[in-house]
């Protein structure tokens, strides 16, 4: 294996406006290695990757390819040189087919016309090597997020790729798909391709990476052989302090705690059949399951965000929420899993975003900008939103800060039932811990919390009880104490299934 790096950055710095986000960082990628970049949100990982692949130009420093200084004026130039970045936000054309996307801009030609047969064959072969079963003639719009991700990877691999940059590729993948991706990564590195890999999931990095570069606040902390570090040491270097316990203590739910939200035999056409559950004040109900099991749809159906039938009770009172506003008036709030498309007005400032859901408190009848600004400042303090200025657009914040703003927006409605859907997706470990402890505070205030999550450690760390869904149905309701990941996965994959409780028997709640 050659040890001369293929691609390196020397003293790379980058500023956006007056704020420097990357300070003189050195990094190098060698052929056949997986080089991970880790750091909290806003540490500069994505920026560094974009500097190396032509999406941004460095303000200082030099990109070096094969020992020679290069300048990629744009991503096309980088791709022509074999440096390809796979985006966090997928970069496919929804209305074109899989095959048209893979060969977009470099379609094979025959007699002056696009040779669709050749393109289809080549795409089918590529997808077969990725063990992805997607018809090449299907439109990308009709694919699941994880399928689209695999197509994106196929597109990158179909080029003469020498350095493949992946930005949180497994965020939207299921466990099996992650395995397939890792197989592919191993085959690529065996062929001498270098992989630059950004992820928040430290266990993945332990499994797949050879070296890791740790960034904090735009500074490089160091580059290490992964074999020399434990995940705990990695996390400590990322945040620059000892991480105490990740989760707050889990106080017992009092025996007499009233049921706050009760869902009975809820059907969401096309997604959920006959789902029943209940959550009490001061309790965290975890909702586990694989991507596509219907967890989000269950609660969107209950809250009037999509059509559903079944019965819902709030504080014992039957309710019929036809619109999210009905649920809001009954003091139930839902944190969407899709922060960018459903949670934030990205082009609006933080003030307008944070008061959007509780505007009636700030407008009587005319909006009072001063009161809104005070609310924003209070929220920024309470949720520890770390930004240089508060008068920026929501798009300018890092993922963790954005999530805090969305959470603050929800909490301004003063809900007593809070449904958190993937609250820590794409967020750094320090912010995750803050959100976990915030859940602890909510419990102390007697709020009922529903936690939908694909990260089993956080479900096990926070939930008193766990509801597991598989293919649109609840397969089990489990006691959180002494629960392990294997048991939850058995229910989530449909291997185990509890008999549905008879409607007369009220499920025992474990205190």
């Amino acid at each position: 294996m050659a040890h001369e790096p293929i691609l390196s950055g020397i003293g790379l710095s980058k500023s956006f406006g007056p704020i420097e986000v990357l300070h003189a960082v050195d990094v190098d990628v060698r052929p056949g290695e997986v080089h991970a970049l880790v750091g909290e949100n806003g540490a500069g990982k994505s920026t560094l990757m974009k500097l190396l692949s032509g999406y941004h130009q460095p303000n200082a420093g030099q990109v070096v390819l094969d020992g020679r200084p290069v300048r990629f004026p744009d991503s096309n130039a980088a791709e022509a040189a074999g440096v390809v970045l796979i985006h966090q936000e997928l970069n496919l054309v929804p209305d074109l087919t899989v095959e048209e996307n893979v060969f977009l801009g470099r379609e094979p030609h025959r007699f002056g016309l696009v040779d669709r047969g050749a393109a289809r064959r080549a795409t089918a072969e590529l997808l077969a090597t990725l063990r992805t079963q997607v018809p090449v003639t299907r439109r990308v719009r009709e694919l699941s997020v994880s399928q689209a991700q695999m197509v994106e990877i196929a597109k990158a691999v179909s080029r003469e790729v020498r350095v493949l940059c992946m930005d949180e590729p497994t965020d939207v993948l299921t466990g099996r798909e992650t395995e397939v991706l890792f197989d592919l990564v191993r085959r690529l590195t065996a062929d001498g391709v270098a992989i630059l890999y950004v992820s928040h999931k430290l266990d993945e990095i332990m499994a797949i990476a050879d070296r890791v570069t740790i960034l904090r606040d735009g500074h490089k902390i160091g580059t290490f052989d992964v074999a020399d570090l434990t995940p705990a040491e990695m996390a400590r270097r990322m945040v620059g302090r000892e991480l105490a316990d990740m989760y707050p203590p889990k106080p017992a739910v009092p025996d007499d705690a009233p049921v706050a939200l009760e869902v009975d035999e809820l059907d969401v056409p096309g997604f959920v059949r006959g789902a029943s559950l209940r959550v009490r004040r001061g309790e965290v109900l975890g909702v586990a399951g694989l991507v596509g099991a219907g967890r989000t749809e269950l609660f969107e159906g209950a809250l009037g965000l999509r059509p559903a039938h079944g019965s819902v009770r709030k504080d014992g009172r039957p309710v019929r929420w036809r619109h999210p506003e009905d649920a809001k008036l009954d003091r139930v709030a839902y944190l969407t899993e899709d922060r960018k498309a459903k949670g934030l007005l990205l082009s609006k400032n933080l003030r307008e975003n944070v008061v959007l859901q509780s505007l009636e408190r700030f407008a009587r009848p005319f909006v009072r900008l001063h009161a809104e600004q005070q609310a924003l400042e209070r929220s920024a303090k309470e949720f520890d939103v770390r930004v240089a200025r508060l008068d920026v657009e929501a798009a300018a914040l890092s993922g963790g800060n954005q999530q805090k703003i969305v959470l603050a927006k929800l909490m301004l409605t003063e809900p007593d039932v809070v449904i958190l859907d993937e609250p820590t997706r794409g967020i750094d470990i320090g912010t995750k811990r803050q959100i976990y402890f915030y859940v602890g505070e909510l419990l102390a205030r007697g709020v009922a919390v529903v936690l939908i999550s694909s990260e089993l450690p956080e479900i096990l760390g926070l939930a008193h009880r766990v509801v597991v869904m598989h293919d649109g149905a609840i397969t089990g309701t489990l006691d959180g104490a002494g629960l392990d990941e294997e048991t939850v996965m058995a229910y989530a994959t449909g291997l185990r299934r509890d008999p549905p409780p008879s409607t007369l028997e009220s499920p025992r709640v474990h205190a």
């Binding site: 704020i19 986000v21 909290e40 949100n41 806003g42 540490a43 606040d217 965000l305 619109h323 999210p324 506003e325 649920a327 809001k328 839902y334 969407t336 498309a341 459903k342 949670g343 934030l344 007005l345 990205l346 082009s347 609006k348 307008e352 959007l356 859901q357 505007l359 009636e360 407008a363 009848p365 005319f366 909006v367 770390r386 930004v387 240089a388 200025r389 890092s398 927006k409 409605t413």
Partner: protein, 335 residues
């Protein structure tokens, strides 16, 4: 993660930088037009001529205030010109039918005005409900109602012209031709509609919701905003604004025909866009729309006064200015 920076007291330079220069582009265009106009003809900068321009901009301006709500909310209304023609025709027919009975001429006119305002609300609500409850594209719905209203007025006029009874004209005439404190009534009406519109858009929950929905409808829905209701109301406001314009327009000529209000929808949308409102929705200002409407009217006036360009080329010049305005906007949105 960035550490909070200490903010020094803003210097005048920093303050200057905070002025939204790009939003002032339409105002700069207006000033430029006035300068050009006054250089080209001595009669341009007289109060008679300027009030004339303002009076003529009132129809399009009032309709465009409503259009600002629709467009910021992420919609479009192509039916306003036809709706204006239909409401004018219906109003004249009703007033003619009532005249000569037990009701005084003034009473007849008041009933006519009430009917037009009510019908405008209903017509707007019909557009809005078809779009939100029927889940049909605004472009399609209002293209359809554009045809419907236009054919209805042609039918009412039997292909010709509907004329207001002569005695009623005398009573109704002052609404367009009289002045109050030296300022023509239509200009007052335009100013009042613009001020009320600006308050509604910039200072109330409703206005904030309109901007949120135009910015991202899904985010608004998840924030428990009644998206369908708010969007429908933008079309109701549009219908009401059309009705107000009709109340001012009917006394001007005292007639309506199949060619009344032709291409008003283009001028109204143009005024909104020239004023800096994003065609894709989410942001915009009423005062920009006011400036846009006055600019359109000024262009026609300058061409009329000077012989440099034929007045028949008015549409060409307006078209070029619309395209230019959107070209300037691109810098703001292109990211």
């Amino acid at each position: 993660m960035s550490t909070p920076e200490t903010v020094a007291a803003p210097s005048w330079r920093a303050r200057l930088r905070r002025v939204p220069w790009q939003q002032l582009t339409p105002l700069a265009g207006l000033v430029l037009l006035v300068v050009v106009g006054s250089l080209m003809h001595p009669a341009f900068l007289t109060s008679t001529n300027l009030f004339n321009v303002l009076t003529r901009s009132a129809f399009i301006g009032i309709i465009a205030v409503g259009g600002t709500f629709v467009i910021i909310g992420g919609g479009i209304d192509l039916s306003v010109g036809s709706m204006a023609a239909f409401l004018s025709g219906a109003m004249i027919l009703l007033m003619n039918a009532l005249y000569g009975g037990a009701i005084s001429p003034v009473g007849v006119v008041l009933i006519g005005v009430g009917l037009v305002l009510g019908s405008g609300l209903l017509a707007g609500a019909a557009n809005g409900l078809a779009i939100t409850r029927g889940r049909i594209e605004p472009f399609i719905v209002t293209l359809g109602t554009l045809g419907i209203f236009r054919s209805l007025v042609t039918y009412l006029a039997d292909g010709g012209t509907i004329s207001l009874n002569f005695a009623l004209r005398g009573v109704y005439r002052p609404v367009f031709y009289d002045s109050f404190l030296g300022i023509p009534i239509p200009v007052w009406a335009f100013a009042v509609v613009a001020v009320l519109g600006a308050i509604l858009l910039h200072r109330t929950r409703f206005g904030r919701y309109v901007r949120a929905i135009g910015s991202n409808q899904e985010v608004a829905r998840y924030a428990a905003i009644r998206v369908a209701r708010v969007r429908t109301l933008t079309y109701v406001i549009q219908g009401l604004c059309v009705a107000i314009a009709v109340v001012l327009y009917v006394p001007r000529l005292g007639s309506a025909s199949a060619s009344t209000g032709i291409l008003w929808e283009l001028e109204a949308i143009a005024a909104v866009i020239i004023g800096g409102t994003a065609l894709k929705g989410g942001s915009g200002h009423i005062w920009g729309t006011v400036v846009g409407a006055i600019m359109l009217s000024l262009i026609g006036n300058v061409l009329n006064l000077t012989s440099a360009i034929s007045e028949y080329l008015n549409g060409t010049v307006q078209g070029l200015i619309i395209i230019g305005a959107v070209f300037l906007q691109r810098g703001r949105q292109g990211r």
